[in-house]
Subunit: 173 residues, 2 copies
């Protein structure tokens, strides 16, 4: 029990430290991710919101799916496939309990975004990425591209969503 309380307090403190020290607008250091050569686009942190999500289990995260102007327009028109130039960014943060919010609600129920885990990108270029459904994939941690091996799994995992141009996320109204 003590251990659980300690973990909860530690997670809350971590969340606060992160929230108060890093109000960055999406780091984009220009380094291209392997395999697809995708870079973190400047200003992606300020893109419009497509939807939110939550993964339990090992990932244990809260997610925001943002899109560039072309992505958001395509979602609104509702026409598939997404046009070349579409970029979808999936940001994720640790799913951490909020003691402060729990107190306000009077019960243990609140989870907020803790430290960021990683950022994944899908970039549409139907010629360049013809062999992977027209999409290039990338994953960044702390603004730096993740290793090659991690990207091999992207397209196979997205293949079941072929009927929706390999994109899992729906627009949240």
């Amino acid at each position: 029990m003590k251990r659980i309380v300690f973990v909860l307090i530690a997670a809350t403190i971590m969340a606060c430290v992160v929230a108060f020290t890093a109000p960055a607008s999406g780091r984009a250091n220009g380094e291209a991710a392997p395999v697809f050569g995708v870079k973190l686009p400047p200003g992606y942190r300020d893109w419009k919101l497509i939807s939110v999500a939550h993964e339990e289990g090992d990932l244990n995260d809260l997610r925001a799916i943002l899109g560039n102007e072309m992505a958001v327009k395509a979602y609104r028109v509702g026409k598939l496939p997404f046009p070349d130039g579409t970029v979808i960014a999936r940001l994720a943060w640790s799913h951490v309990p909020s003691e402060q919010n729990n107190k306000a609600f009077g019960r243990v129920q609140s989870f907020v975004a803790g430290p960021p885990t990683n950022v994944q990108l899908m970039v549409k270029d139907s010629r360049k990425y013809a062999s992977t459904g027209g999409w290039g994939f990338a994953q960044f941690k702390d603004g730096k591209p993740d290793e090659k091996a991690a990207l091999k799994t992207c397209f196979p995992c997205h293949e079941p969503a072929k009927a929706r141009d390999f994109v899992f996320t729906n627009y949240a109204p």
Copy 2:
């Protein structure tokens, strides 16, 4: 067990129906909420993301906290109190399981935004709303303001966050 499966399937279908039929950009019908007279600002659905959250229990939702330009700028500068003109919008959707995502991950762990529940607003006007910490509060369901009673609880609930100008949400880096 059958009932649980049925509920899961029904929730997934609801989420799909909503996602494919209502790609709206934030409804703003101009009707002011009671008590504080706050209206839904046009285009709020496209505001920049401040953070995400998840409430369990009766609320059972996924949340995105968006801000107008003044709000986002204030978060980045990190200076309190928020300036007059700041508007923070908390959007919430039902927290529904995603069968499709669970299949892709190979385990039951995925939750996505289902039907929207409500939108809450905090509007900073230090003179107009002097008696409630400088904030006006509003809640909208399906674009229509919620009844008066619901708004009486806003400020008392936010009071514990006085040291942070009555705002619970931190900026997610």
